[in-house]
């Protein structure tokens, strides 16, 4: 470092001075009380000022976005973790008109159901697929409960840090970003994420200072090593990068979520939505695309593969793969045509262990396709 000065002929190397927080600094909001916590280098607050700032942010978020109106029935999805419990306690402070919260537990199953769930997850060979499937099923469950009980809005407690990691891992899985404030892809039910402006650090401060209870439930990837799955790897990558470049999370979040259009807002009729994640299908891409390149590679590396460039599901009957009555279970090949790019990768190794409601939906979509083709041919 000292050598640089000699080369520059005495010009001093201007070092950016990072102020070292000392004790007894004043809160930057009220300027009176002594600060007890540091949000970001120079942002220091007293306890009550921090609480005010925290709640104000939520109020502003709900007000600006105009998706939730007072006296509306909203479902809060609470997993028991810090973020969702903070969301619950905050929402109670802001407005007491919201009803019902659900806990996503894993213990309330009957024996046959438990067996079916175990079979499903053991047929997914890799951790990535398991995590992906868990996420999808959880989403389906929450939607189902919302619809059953007549809720049109669901609130989820994802923090900014969690969303940034999810976004990046979505990109690496081949899924496009779909995590705006309000998620409209499910039609009648809207998913809202009021905690998305809070970093995980702020949420933790809040819950510690104001004694918000929380429960830690170990997930599929707890205590696994960094390379166990893509989701796990992404999380550790972003966390490490954040340590060296403190603006990483906010850059990813702000620029992507606010500039990129969610795939579901593109015109997508019911027939062309992915079976599992319900995003618009992205596998009808043009000839010069990454998807096409993967198909070509598969074709060129094997002998006598059936023509993979055909995508209409009705064709599977012609390929001689167990064609017969329409009462048969959809084969692996048929299911693939009803899924988006990344869901295809998830079920790659899985055969016929999907839950019955998904299989029923698949059959319905297949019949719809067949009818469509028949009408076109007439």
């Amino acid at each position: 470092m000292c050598q640089a000065e000699e080369e520059y002929n005495g010009l001093e190397c201007k070092q950016e001075k990072i102020p070292v927080p000392t004790l007894n600094r004043k809160c930057i909001k009220c300027k009176e009380g002594t600060a007890v916590l540091v949000k970001k280098r120079v942002c220091m607050f007293t306890g009550s000022c921090f609480k005010e700032y925290f709640i104000h942010k939520l109020r502003a978020m709900l007000g600006n976005n105009r998706v939730i109106f007072p006296h509306e029935k909203v479902l809060l999805a609470v997993s028991g973790g810090t973020a969702s419990y903070s969301m619950l306690s905050q929402v109670q402070e802001v407005n007491t008109q919201f009803f019902l919260f659900i806990c996503v537990e894993d213990s309330a199953y009957s024996p046959e159901h438990k067996l079916a769930v175990e079979r499903l997850f053991s047929s997914l060979k890799i951790l990535i697929a398991k995590e992906d499937m868990l996420q999808t099923l959880r989403q389906h469950l929450i939607l189902h409960i919302a619809r059953e009980n007549g809720y049109s809005k669901v609130m989820m407690g994802d923090s900014c840090s969690r969303l940034a990691v999810k976004l990046l891992s979505n990109i690496t899985l081949g899924r496009r970003a779909a995590l705006g404030f309000s998620d409209h892809r499910y039609g009648d039910v809207v998913i809202v994420r009021p905690m998305r402006d809070y970093s995980f650090k702020e949420i933790t401060y809040y819950s510690r200072m104001f004694n918000v209870p929380s429960v830690f439930i170990s997930g599929l990837d707890t205590k696994t090593h960094d390379k166990a799955s893509i989701q796990r790897l992404t999380e550790s990558f972003v966390t490490n990068l954040q340590a060296d470049f403190p603006s990483t999370v906010s850059t990813i979040y702000r620029n992507l979520i606010q500039s990129v259009m969610s795939p579901q807002s593109q015109t997508a009729e019911a027939a062309s939505k992915c079976l599992l994640c319900l995003c618009a299908l992205d596998t009808k891409a043009g000839k010069a695309s990454a998807f096409n390149a993967t198909l070509v590679s598969e074709q060129l590396s094997q002998i006598e593969l059936q023509d993979p460039s055909v995508e209409a599901p009705a064709r599977s009957a012609e390929e001689g793969q167990g064609c017969g009555s329409s009462n048969r279970l959809p084969s692996h090949q048929d299911l693939k045509t009803l899924l988006c790019y990344s869901c295809r990768l998830t079920i790659k190794d899985m055969v016929n262990t999907l839950p019955p409601y998904i299989i029923t939906e698949a059959e319905k979509q297949q019949k719809r396709w067949e009818m469509l083709l028949r009408n076109l041919n007439e």
Partner: protein, 343 residues
């Protein structure tokens, strides 16, 4: 038990394809690799008959393989193209001068004409001199910006119709990840295009025929074909931000090999909301090169170097463009900010 090739089934497999995991014999692998590039070229309509195409050649594995495959496919499928090699000398001792020797050998091996342009003759600065002024943190920006213009200038001197570069799937995926991490929406939208727009105005269109070829497969191809290439990394690269994206991508690939193409797929299918501000393409008022600002990036960087203000051009200094154009001197405060360099 020896594994048979999954394509021809007759010969024994000698390698496992990183892209698909299939075991292939040497000839089937060569054929599959070349055929995929041919399909990419044809389906994206990269070239037209009778065009002169400059291949950006650095002497490294990507450009050597590109030159070889282009020559092979041009003859095999009759593209009708005139190929030549174009090389850029950045003036990095111990790296570029060695790789240029490799390019000269390639010229003889493939019997293609060669042109070398250097930073010294175009800008009056070599990379070694730039690093002395700028330091080790932001030097890749200078090199990248200057090289892009150098390739275009060289191509204009040779009067070619198109440039092709050896960017492979790993490069494109890294670029997508890097743009996500840096929040650069404008670049994110453009970086997955296989070729740049060809709307005249002096900008020569360029394309990436190797866009869907994995780096590992390129290395395997070069190895089995015994191609002559230079395999050392640039001495200044360890400090680049791209290194983070690269490590991440390599880890991803080890978990799931299709990740590279998955990232490219995500990049291709992202779409931008309406109303988001995008830069508009114009021309630089000083040198006439394409630019989205009043002054193109290389003019700004050069100005910074010549005035001894290396940070001009790193970071946002749009307001100073007017002053630079008018050849005014900057205030003392502005100068102080721009002189600072961190290592």
């Amino acid at each position: 038990m020896p594994v048979q090739c999954s394509n021809c089934v007759q010969r024994r497999a000698v390698l496992k394809r990183p892209k698909t995991g299939h075991s292939l014999c040497k000839d089937c692998f060569f054929w599959a690799f070349e055929e995929e590039i041919h399909q990419t070229i044809v389906s994206a309509g990269l070239f037209n008959r009778g065009e002169t195409v400059a291949i950006g050649a650095s002497g490294g594995k990507d450009s050597t393989v590109l030159a070889h495959v282009m020559k092979v496919l041009n003859e095999r499928y009759g593209y009708g193209l005139d190929l030549l090699l174009l090389s850029v000398d950045e003036g990095i001792t111990g790296y570029r001068d060695d790789s240029l020797e490799t390019v000269k050998r390639n010229q003889q091996q493939y019997e293609l004409p060669l042109k070398i342009v250097s930073y010294e003759e175009l800008y009056g600065w070599t990379m070694d001199a730039i690093v002395k002024q700028v330091g080790l943190k932001n030097n890749c920006t200078f090199c990248g910006v200057f090289r892009r213009q150098a390739l275009d200038r060289g191509a204009m001197m040779l009067k070619v119709d198109r440039i092709c570069t050896g960017h492979n799937a790993d490069d494109v995926a890294e670029t997508v990840l890097m743009n996500v991490l840096r929040g650069d929406i404008a670049r994110l939208r453009r970086c997955t295009s296989i070729s740049t727009a060809s709307d005249g105005e002096g900008a020569i269109p360029r394309c990436k025929p190797l866009k869907y070829a994995y780096e590992k497969e390129i290395v395997l191809y070069a190895y089995f074909k015994k191609l002559d290439y230079f395999s050392t990394e640039c001495i200044y690269s360890p400090n680049a931000y791209r290194g983070h994206a690269r490590t991440f991508l390599k880890d991803l690939e080890s978990i799931r090999p299709s990740s590279i193409i998955d990232v490219i797929h995500s990049g291709e299918t992202l779409s931008i909301k309406e109303g988001v501000k995008m830069p508009v393409q114009g021309t630089c008022s000083r040198c006439g090169y394409i630019s989205s600002q009043a002054l193109c990036k290389s003019c700004v960087l050069l100005e910074g170097l010549n005035r001894g203000l290396p940070k001009l051009g790193i970071g946002k200094h749009h307001r100073l463009h007017g002053k630079i154009l008018a050849q005014e001197s900057l205030t003392e405060q502005e100068e102080k900010k721009l002189k600072a360099v961190d290592f």
